[in-house]
């Protein structure tokens, strides 16, 4: 089995790399102090090209449960704080039984709702933790309970939440803030109340007059002395903590009224506020806007200065604000002062007279009107629905060259208004423009529609629609700021007539009105500002046939509860019709009118595909749906078992204790795994003749993967060995691939991969996907360590020999404390991968899917242990591991989740359920075959290319047999995939001898030479000595 080429002594004097107890613990390799057996392998070091290598996906951003369609196994919709990971909004499952709904007639005691919070929030004593302090009637029916949280019978100051009860008495949602009691580390109050009061008085004495009030003053102020409340206080200064504290209200003199929060153990001042109302606080200011109209805006007074900060709304949180520059829950207008580039600065807008200029008044007024619109019409609390500060910038110059900006935009954080140039007057002069931009923020926080193609057109349309609803006098957009002569109607766009006075796209402001007029070019990111005319017109028609108020509610509900990032026009139609049914009834005139409106603009039921499915590029295996899994029940000696999914028949396969996930050939006949003695074993899966044998006896192996055709095997060892080993059953060669980091980020001083663990072959058997533990040293001397996912080229299908070991990363970078691992390919799509995403800081684990072809990335579901995801035969389900045990007892369980057609997101109409209890390492497989022409790859017809002489000194010739004269291109890439040169050639019919020279500075090594001509492609390998 082992033909010697050269000997590599696998003496891995590994250094123990300490790491904290983590979710990745089971993948960590321990130090091995003994001497390893040796195997003989050719070593390939791959190509260590740094700095400019490409990755398959863009940088990975942090994931939270907000990214999940169903963030709970119980399918309650749970939104969590990205900062703390605690639930902040939970939509409870609706009461499923109509009978149960009808049965509700009487008053349900509040405690029953508090008890329900145990299940919703994962608590055990919610009825003791929360107290209802206020009950309000919900105008839409039902009621609203307001809760405060208590700990040890003391209030947790600021921990307030709300329960919504529907008219049937069902709990529909909980939202707000609560503190997990386990995070309260200190419970004692060691500082006395008197000491705390003295601490406050001492602090007050530094800048205020402090004296004992006279009896007359006390009577007037109804004040008998400092009041002290013992509480648990949420301190958000650095990281969120909850500590025992005293809240002290104190009047140091006749004028001032102060509140102090004193730590009840350290005596430190945690916070202090002035409660004196007659100086600082919300004010109003009147003035002319950019159109000369008198407007009233809300400002904020601090001392003798007034700021363009609206702190008058219910979302405003003074205690969390740093006024005037960093308010929380306010509407704030800032001035960029036409600065740009590296000189960009902005300031708070301040006035000593409470009089502001027209641009400030316009921008500030618009933001307030937009806030009020969403609040009153849609019951939405600001842009993010949770009271986020609305920020507008005025006097914005073109960010690229500092010229006057003829535009306004939303950049994901704020609204930016240019002062106009050739086409427009100052953009802040238009309420609909501001409403449009603020709506982009709402979209970002709801459907998060992308900005290209039909999704982008829906994005722009929604911004136009709600901009138009906020500025409800007409159906036009931008008519208040367009300079004369630039647009035929004087408006940028018109919802009531998207043609807007033009005849085609060459006329400024023209948009298609119906689908057959849709722009199909690539300009404007696929016509996002052009094709928005079609849904705009559908909205207009709906508003005309019903009411504006009905249409806006339908589109808002569609946006906020149905549409997703990739939604197309057909999705919009379906979403709006469903939204109309939700609000007005299944057979309502509004639902019918919605369908009619979309029919008129030609977005019909058959006009598109709801989502972009990931196509199969390999024929599907035609065998049975089977699952190989590992029994974790220690009382059961049968370990590896087969589950026939159609009949749920379980068949034991092996009693061998194994150390990692098994790997199965594509025909379902053999499984490979590593036993507890760290040897590689193979078991046949044919039930009539199950047999098991050791195929590699050295006791060094940790993980193994068999290629789909069963011809090659890849493995990693139990040591911290920076290698992957590949064995070819045909040539009986081992090759050891040395791992390297293909990219370095800025700020990295040294380090790299330490060892690989999980492996899997791709469909064509030339590439492995693997996860890898890395350690790096930053330039500041600090160390970072993480797991990432890489691809390595281990086989060359053209020359049918071992590959050059080129490594490509899946992600160029990961968020801090995040690792990714256990990658698995979809069974039938080369570009689809599922993997574990582990956030060590938040102690959260997600099962993710990505499509490297279009860079789409989704959180499919979550788990609480490494989930080892695996696609089923048809890529319609994903199996994964979830620990259903308690805090002290593990009970690993295999779950499955139905996938949407894109294969990387959960199916909204699908299910997620337990597949098999007490088991792990699920591997779906089938015992059939794929069709003979099994690869559906859409590549050109590929032939081998003769390169001679080979090896050479960089000068060689290509011999190509062409059927006809044609033009072609010769592309030379180095082993890492870097394109070195592209040469145009002309070929004659018959044999062509084409001279070729590598660049003079090309180092010795392997190079790939490809010749492309029409659908034909020749590929060969050049070796420079």
């Amino acid at each position: 089995m082992k033909q010697i080429v050269c000997t590599i002594f696998i003496t891995l004097a590994a250094v123990f790399l300490s790491s904290a107890q983590s979710l990745m613990e089971e993948k960590e390799k321990n130090t091995y102090l003994g001497i390893k057996p040796e195997i003989k392998a050719t070593q390939i070091n791959g190509s260590n090209r740094s700095q400019d290598s490409h990755t398959l996906m863009p940088a990975l951003e942090r994931v939270t449960k907000n990214h999940l369609l169903f963030p709970s196994k119980e399918r309650n919709m749970i939104y969590r704080s990205p900062q703390t990971g605690q639930p902040i909004f939970v939509l409870a499952q609706p009461v499923s039984s109509p009978t149960a709904r009808l049965a509700y007639t009487g008053e349900i005691p509040n405690v029953s709702y508090l008890l329900q919070l145990n299940a919703l929030l994962g608590l055990s004593n919610a009825e003791k933790m929360f107290r209802v302090y206020q009950t309000d009637i919900d105008p839409l029916g039902g009621k609203v309970l307001r809760l405060k949280q208590y700990y040890n019978s003391l209030e947790i100051e600021g921990s307030e939440s709300v329960i919504h009860i529907n008219q049937n008495g069902g709990l529909t949602s909980w939202n707000g803030l609560y503190i997990n009691p386990t995070t309260i580390k200190i419970t004692s109050f060691s500082v006395s109340e008197q000491t705390a009061v003295q601490k406050a008085l001492t602090d007050l004495g530094a800048d205020k007059q402090v004296y004992e009030l006279s009896d007359a003053e006390k009577t007037f102020l109804e004040y008998s002395g400092p009041s002290v409340r013992a509480v648990y206080y949420i301190d958000n200064k650095v990281v969120q903590t909850c500590v025992p504290a005293y809240i002290i209200e104190i009047r140091p003199n006749f004028m001032d009224w102060m509140e102090y929060v004193i730590d009840a153990n350290t005596g430190n001042i945690l916070a202090y506020y002035s409660k004196t109302c007659h100086v600082d606080g919300p004010r109003t200011s009147k003035g002319a806007d950019l159109n000369g109209a008198q407007q009233t805006i809300n400002t904020y007074q601090i001392g003798t200065s007034y700021y363009a900060v609206d702190g008058s709304r219910s979302m405003f949180k003074l205690s969390a604000s740093s006024m005037p520059d960093n308010p929380v829950g306010a509407i704030q207008t800032l001035d960029l002062k036409n600065t740009w580039g590296s000189s960009t600065t902005f300031t708070s807008i301040k006035s000593s007279t409470n009089i502001f200029n027209a641009t400030t008044i316009s921008a500030h007024y618009i933001a307030g009107k937009a806030y009020e619109y969403y609040s009153t019409v849609h019951n939405r609390n600001s842009i993010n629905g949770n009271g986020s500060t609305i920020i507008s910038f005025i006097n914005v110059a073109d960010p690229d060259d500092g010229t006057a900006m003829d535009n306004a935009f939303w950049n994901g954080k704020a609204i930016y208004y240019g002062n106009g140039n050739t086409l427009f007057k100052p953009l802040a002069g238009a309420l609909d423009v501001g409403g449009h931009e603020l709506t982009h923020g709402v979209i970002q926080n709801t459907a998060n529609l992308s900005y290209s193609g039909e999704s982008g057109a829906i994005n722009e349309s929604m911004a136009d629609i709600f901009g138009c609803m906020i500025d409800s006098l007409d159906w036009q957009i931008g008519e208040d700021v367009v300079k004369p002569g630039n647009y035929p109607t004087g408006a940028l766009r018109d919802l009531s007539d998207p043609h807007n006075g033009g005849t085609d796209l060459s006329d400024a402001g023209w948009q298609p009105r119906i689908l057959s007029e849709k722009y199909k070019g690539s300009s404007d990111n696929g016509g996002v500002h052009i094709n928005s005319g079609i849904p705009n017109y559908a909205f207009y028609l709906l508003a005309q046939s019903t009411k504006r108020t009905s249409a806006e509610k339908i589109f808002y509900r569609a946006l906020t509860t149905y549409l997703v990032r990739s939604s197309q026009f057909i999705d919009l139609r379906i979403a709006c019709i469903q939204a109309a049914k939700d609000i007005f009834g299944n057979s309502s005139a509004e639902a019918i009118a919605t369908g009619n409106a979309f029919d008129t603009v030609e977005i019909t039921e058959n006009s598109g595909t709801p989502i972009s499915p990931a196509s199969d590029d390999v024929f599907v295996n035609n065998g049975k749906d089977l699952l190989l899994a590992y029994n974790t029940n220690t009382n059961n000696s049968q370990k590896l078992f087969r589950l026939e999914l159609q009949t749920s028949t379980k068949t034991p396969i092996s009693n061998t204790v194994i150390s990692n996930k098994p790997s199965v050939t594509d025909d379902g006949k053999k499984a490979y795994f590593v036993n507890s003695a760290n040897q590689i074993k193979m078991v046949t899966l044919t039930l009539s003749s199950i047999s098991e044998q050791i195929v590699e006896q050295h006791k060094i192996w940790n993980n193994v993967a068999i290629s789909r055709d069963g011809k090659r095997l890849a493995a990693t060892t139990i040591d911290q060995d920076t290698s992957i080993y590949v064995y070819d059953f045909v040539s009986q060669y081992w090759v050891r691939y040395q791992l390297y980091s293909p990219t370095f980020s800025d700020g990295i001083k040294s380090g790299g991969p330490i060892y690989a663990d999980a492996l899997e072959w791709n469909a064509t058997g030339d590439q492995l996907v693997f996860d890898c533990y890395n350690e790096f040293e930053n330039v500041d001397g600090s160390n970072i360590s993480y797991w990432d996912i890489n691809f390595i080229q281990v086989w060359d299908t053209i020359v049918n020999d071992f590959g050059d070991g080129t490594i490509t990363k899946l992600f160029p970078s990961l968020p801090a404390d995040v690792s990714v691992g256990n990658p698995t390919f979809a069974k039938n799509s080369r570009s689809i991968i599922a993997f574990d995403y582990i956030d060590e800081a938040a102690s959260e684990l997600y099962v993710m899917g990505c499509n490297t072809e279009n860079n789409d990335l989704n959180a499919i579901t979550y788990s609480n242990v490494l989930s080892y995801p695996n696609f089923n035969r048809t890529d319609t389900k994903l199996a994964y591991v979830y620990d259903a045990g308690t805090s002290t007892t593990s009970r690993k369980t295999i779950w499955y989740i139905d996938l949407a057609a894109d294969k990387i997101s959960s199916d909204p109409a699908g299910t997620e359920d337990v597949l098999y209890d007490y088991s792990t390492w699920p591997v779906y497989y089938s015992n059939g075959t794929r069709l003979a022409t099994s690869v559906l790859f859409k590549t050109a017809e590929t032939q081998s290319l003769l390169v001679f002489p080979n090896p050479n000194n960089g000068d060689a010739s290509l011999l190509i047999e062409a059927n006809e004269s044609s033009n072609g291109v010769v592309k030379i890439t180095d082993a890492s995939g870097k394109m070195l040169s592209t040469i145009s050639i002309t070929m004659s019919a018959g044999e062509n001898n084409i001279p070729l020279s590598l660049p003079a500075n090309a180092p010795a090594g392997f190079y790939l030479v490809a010749v492309e001509s029409g659908q034909k492609k020749w590929i060969g390998r050049l070796v420079k000595l």
């Binding site: 400019d52 300009s523 404007d524 500002h529 980020s745 291109v969 394109m979």
Partner: protein
């Protein structure tokens, strides 16, 4: 001086065209416009108008202001000329970073773009999505190009 091209006739109209261009000081300069099948365009677009504007660097070192309407009509006006050797370095860097296989199209409400047109291939890179930032090497190249117009 401004030159407006419907894009489809851009390359024909501009091929090896000698034109007189007045700079901002009123002096007349002879500037050779290359075939314009070899240029780098960089800029930004989006917002409520959807218009895109930026600058164009040709292989011979001419820098133009470039404005594109929604239907991709391009208007260019001469800004400055840089050394041909410097322009070549930009093209070398651009071709290195934006290879024929490179893909990145993640616009936001406001987006930035790099458009590379060479004799062999054309490629547009778009970024602006908060959730999908552009690769560092693209940002770096864009920043260097932006400095051309400072």
């Amino acid at each position: 001086m401004k030159i407006t091209f419907p894009v489809r006739s851009l390359f024909i109209a501009a091929t090896l065209l000698w034109i007189s261009i007045h700079n901002t000081s009123g002096q007349s300069n002879k500037v050779k416009i290359d075939t314009l099948d070899h240029y780098i365009e960089f800029g930004s677009g989006g917002g409520i108008t959807g218009q895109a504007q930026g600058h164009m660097l040709t292989y011979s070192g001419n820098v133009y202001k470039a404005i594109r309407t929604l239907d991709n009509e391009l208007t260019i006006s001469f800004v400055k000329k840089i050394k041909k050797s410097r322009a070549k370095r930009f093209f070398k860097a651009a071709q290195k970073q934006i290879s024929p296989d490179f893909q990145f199209n993640e616009p936001g409400n406001r987006y930035q773009y790099l458009y590379l047109k060479t004799a062999q291939y054309t490629k547009k890179v778009v970024w602006g999505s908060l959730s999908k930032p552009a690769p560092k090497q693209i940002i770096k190249l864009s920043t260097k190009l932006q400095k051309l117009i400072l």
